[in-house]
């Protein structure tokens, strides 16, 4: 809790200074600073943050994977006075847009999406370095060593089965990745194109890393996959809609929440769960870099914020990223997470996807 107080205190100071600095937005912000200072009166410690915390103002524009993060951003607005505007966009689209913009991004913060896109953006020099003290508490695996990106959570991948369909088709539930090669599943498995879906890219990269004949495996799987959806959420949605019996999909609280309404089963493959960190990064040259940088620091520095995030995301993987986090427990057996060398995610991407494309294309030709 101490951290929060310090930040709030610092913020109160920022408010006052920014109020003095610019009279333009005064009305709105004066009430903000008033609120913060009354709640903070008495907490008097002079911390280093005061000098480090930048003057925050204006609006922070966020591209996120969904619009479920409202409460988190509201909290940020409440504590800093920075208005937040969110747009949902897939990470691939974000990267395309960034590249087209040629270094003049129209958003400040990138919130969520497969880490491979973040790695690509870092290589293109599109991201801003963010350093803060609490970063030390984050596990090394889940952050860029130079601070260009951090992880806000982990997406794990499993199977979703449509029970009535499985029954109707007389199929046994698959328990492992190898089970998926069973010819009886032919045409009943749906997964996303790994080029589009960060989670399914993780499946491909992780299985290639862990399996002896990785490409042989995907050749076999390709025989059973009906098609590779061009949207990340399609496997889930299509299984729910009774269109396919087995979907290779992300598994989180939202999927679990389906269980009462839909007759589906979640399978955590016994031979390992592929996973992928979800990135957070600040865009270089963005209009409100300062607010975005501070947001990253603000979020990771306060367990309350991370807990809120985990709730909104309905994912518990954030505990893995910040082991010291209290109030969140991982709700699956972390030992079945696959051994992955994340550094390969970025470097091998082009090569893997190219080979995968050839592999998919061959089937299309044979059809």
């Amino acid at each position: 809790m101490k951290m929060k107080k310090l930040i709030s205190m610092a913020l109160a100071l920022v408010m006052v200074t920014s109020l003095a600095a610019c009279g333009g937005n005064g009305g709105e912000q004066s009430s903000q600073s008033g609120n913060v200072s009354t709640s903070q009166s008495g907490a008097g410690s002079t911390s280093q943050e005061e000098s480090q915390t930048p003057e925050l103002s204006g609006t922070m524009k966020v591209v996120a994977t969904g619009d479920m993060y409202g409460p988190l951003f509201d909290k940020f607005t409440e504590e800093t006075g920075v208005e937040v505007e969110v747009l949902s966009m897939s990470s691939g689209d974000v990267l395309s847009k960034l590249r087209a913009e040629g270094g003049t991004p129209s958003a400040d913060l990138w919130f969520g999406g497969g880490i491979d896109a973040f790695m690509g953006a870092k290589d293109d020099g599109l991201l801003e370095q963010v350093q803060f003290d609490a970063a030390a508490d984050l596990a090394d695996n889940y952050k860029d060593s130079e601070g260009y990106w951090y992880s806000k959570g982990i997406t794990i991948v499993g199977f979703l089965l449509n029970n009535p369909l499985m029954e109707e088709l007389g199929l046994e539930a698959p328990a492992t990745w190898d089970d998926l090669l069973d010819p009886s599943y032919q045409g009943e498995i749906i997964m996303s194109n790994p080029a589009i879906s960060g989670t399914n890219y993780a499946v491909v990269n992780a299985l290639l890393q862990t399996k002896e004949d990785g490409w042989g495996y995907f050749d076999g799987l390709n025989e059973n996959v009906a098609y590779y959806a061009r949207r990340g959420s399609d496997p889930l949605n299509k299984v729910i809609a009774d269109e396919f019996a087995i979907g290779i999909t992300y598994i989180d609280g939202t999927v679990e929440a389906l269980l009462p309404d839909y007759d589906v089963t979640i399978v955590y493959p016994e031979d390992g769960l592929p996973w992928v960190p979800e990135g957070v990064a600040v865009f270089k040259n963005a209009e409100n870099v300062e607010a975005a940088k501070y947001f990253v620091e603000w979020m990771f520095s306060d367990d309350e914020n991370l807990t809120l995030l985990a709730e909104l995301d309905q994912k518990t993987g954030v505990k893995i990223i910040k082991p010291s986090l209290e109030g969140v427990e991982v709700n699956y057996d972390t030992s079945i997470l696959m051994e992955e060398d994340l550094s390969l995610f970025g470097s091998q991407r082009e090569e893997i996807l190219a080979q995968f494309e050839t592999l998919m294309g061959d089937k299309a030709v044979n059809e």
Partner: protein, 559 residues
């Protein structure tokens, strides 16, 4: 300017500054052509430039790669487009005949369904399609027990064919309404049975329109990425591959080169279209007639029955689709059991109305400015035939041939640096919508313009008016029917298209159609269905309002 002049408008007040008025005329022209260059030509050049960029400077290498890698997709595109254009034209012709010969509530219902289809947002139709005709669709599986797989090229062709019908059918209905009734009566009078009239007179007279439908559907199918992405399964077209390049690989160079590649069949089709139009002359200049087309399709032999059956099939499928969409919004599925619920409606009402309001405002701006632009542009190009008019006409048609996302990327490439930094502003979104829709609106205006006798224009000049008077007193009043169509088209397109502005929207300017997209994406089909219904209702209300307002003006104008 004529206020000071008690004698009336025109004479001395306007004549006081002939030089100034000539200048104004030039200035308008400059503004129009400048707009076209800046917002169509320049982004296109940026795409071309990007496609030529390699690691070591300018290179055409990417084209070699694309040719090798995507030859098959291009063939797929052409195949799909050919099938779609034929099937869609069959549907459109049948639908147009059905509506034109129909009467009473059936005609009204048909027109209503066409309009609804035209103003429908994307995505939800695909959802309904899967719900009805999917592997476990209500019709295909549960009703007919078929084990058919819609995730292939036939699914794409079928869905494109259905969704392209409204524009084509409305075009053909307009043509049928202008068809010389005396020709039809003569044929009947000379002993031709309905079957003969349809075969010998109606269809031959409709032929230029049918050809136009074939070609426009072809071009539209080539550029359509949404349908193959949603239900193409493993089937790829060049447009869906471009989408994959942008969304999956973020490879702008390759995507740009593929775009140029895709333009080849489209431009070919477009020039064929121009050539054919030149050969058959513009669409008949006659005024539309109130009289219904008197032809009993059921007595028209095989062709009549074909029209009845395909037209009926189309309306049946579309009707079912909308029943499905609306129903999805009110039905809760719990483990296969269906029950009625207003839960989703309540959820929708809690949604932030800000994006919806912004969408409506944007659409209104685009509809007004875009319509004005199209009216002026068509006047200068088709009537005044200013220098380079063919070039500018072709230029204004280009956005129709590009997949929306690429046109959007072109805008980012073009407008991301000062002094032309427009990224992140509302202007870039508005301009993109406006120019993306310009090909259609200018064609609508051109068709109407051809019905204004040039004599009226000459009369204005003859009586002492200048070009500006011609515009104000002849062209604008004459284009009133075009105004309505353009406004309606602009408004509904701006409310419902997503592809073109996907990359241009920034977090501060969220639009309703993307909220809808999010809902679809996250599997909240009920909410998505309700949002789509809501958008359709708003579009129909606004357009109905404008129609009534204009209609009242028209009536008071006449009396």
């Amino acid at each position: 300017m004529s206020k000071n002049n008690p004698v009336g408008k025109g004479a001395s007040g306007d004549a006081l500054f002939p030089a100034v008025r000539r200048l104004a005329d030039r200035l308008i022209l400059l503004l129009l052509l400048g707009g076209i260059c800046l917002f169509i030509l320049y982004p296109m050049l940026c795409i071309l430039w990007r496609s030529l960029q390699g690691e070591g400077g300018l290179t055409g290498d990417m084209y070699g790669v694309v040719w090798e890698q995507y030859g098959r997709s291009l063939r797929n595109s052409v195949f799909t487009a050919t099938c779609t254009s034929l099937l869609c034209t069959l549907f459109s012709t049948a639908t147009a005949l059905l509506i034109s010969t129909g009467r009473g509530w059936r005609r009204a219902l048909g027109m209503g369904l066409l309009l609804i289809t035209m103003v429908s947002p994307p995505f939800v139709s695909a959802l309904a399609y899967i719900q009805l005709y999917g592997r476990r669709g209500w019709i295909t599986y549960r009703l007919l027990g078929l084990s058919w797989n819609p995730y292939n090229c036939w699914g794409v062709i079928w869905m494109q064919s259905l969704s392209f019908v409204p524009v084509n059918a409305l075009f053909l209905i307009g043509m049928l309404s202008r068809m010389d009734r005396d020709s039809l009566m003569s044929a009947r009078d000379l002993g031709a049975a309905p079957r003969d009239i349809l075969r010998d007179v109606v269809l031959p007279l409709l032929r230029p329109g049918i050809l136009v439908c074939v070609l426009l559907s072809f071009v539209r199918s080539i550029a359509d990425f949404g349908t193959p992405v949603t239900i193409g399964g493993r089937f790829t077209t060049i447009a869906s591959d471009i989408y994959l390049q942008l969304t999956g690989y973020s490879n702008l160079e390759k995507a740009s080169a593929m775009n140029m590649f895709l333009l080849v069949p489209s431009v070919a089709a477009f020039f064929l279209y121009r050539w054919l139009m030149g050969k058959t002359g513009p669409v008949s200049g006659e005024r539309a007639q109130q009289q219904r087309l008197q032809l009993s399709l059921s007595r028209c032999g095989a062709a009549g029955w074909l029209a009845l059956v395909t037209g009926g099939l189309f309306f049946g499928m579309i009707g079912l689709q909308y029943v499905c969409i609306v129903a999805t919004g009110f039905i809760q599925r719990t483990r296969g059991a269906l029950s009625f619920t207003t839960q989703y409606l309540e959820e929708l009402l809690e949604y932030n109305s800000e994006t919806m309001v912004r969408s409506v405002i944007y659409a209104l701006i685009v509809a007004l400015v875009g319509t004005l632009f199209a009216m002026l542009f068509s006047y200068y190009i088709y009537r005044r035939r200013v220098r380079w008019n063919t070039f500018f006409d072709c230029l204004a048609t280009l956005p129709y041939m590009l997949p929306g996302t690429c046109f959007g990327i072109g805008y980012i490439l073009a407008f991301n640096h000062p002094p032309l930094k427009l990224t992140g502003t509302a202007i870039i979104v508005l301009a993109n919508m406006l120019f993306k829709q310009l090909p259609t609106t200018t064609k609508i205006c051109a068709a109407t313009l051809s019905q204004i006798p040039e004599a009226q224009e000459r009369a204005v000049r003859d009586l002492g008016g200048d070009q500006l008077n011609v515009m104000r007193d002849v062209i604008f009043p004459g284009l009133r029917p075009a105004f309505l169509s353009c406004f309606a088209y602009n408004f509904s397109s701006s409310m419902t298209t997503a592809g073109a502005v996907l990359f241009l929207i920034d977090p501060g300017h969220q639009l309703a159609v993307f909220k809808l997209f999010d809902a679809v994406y996250s599997g909240e089909y009920a909410l998505a269905s309700l949002m789509a219904t809501f958008i359709i209702v708003i579009v129909l209300l606004v357009e109905g309002g404008v129609y009534l307002a204009m209609g009242r003006k028209e009536r008071s104008h006449v009396s």
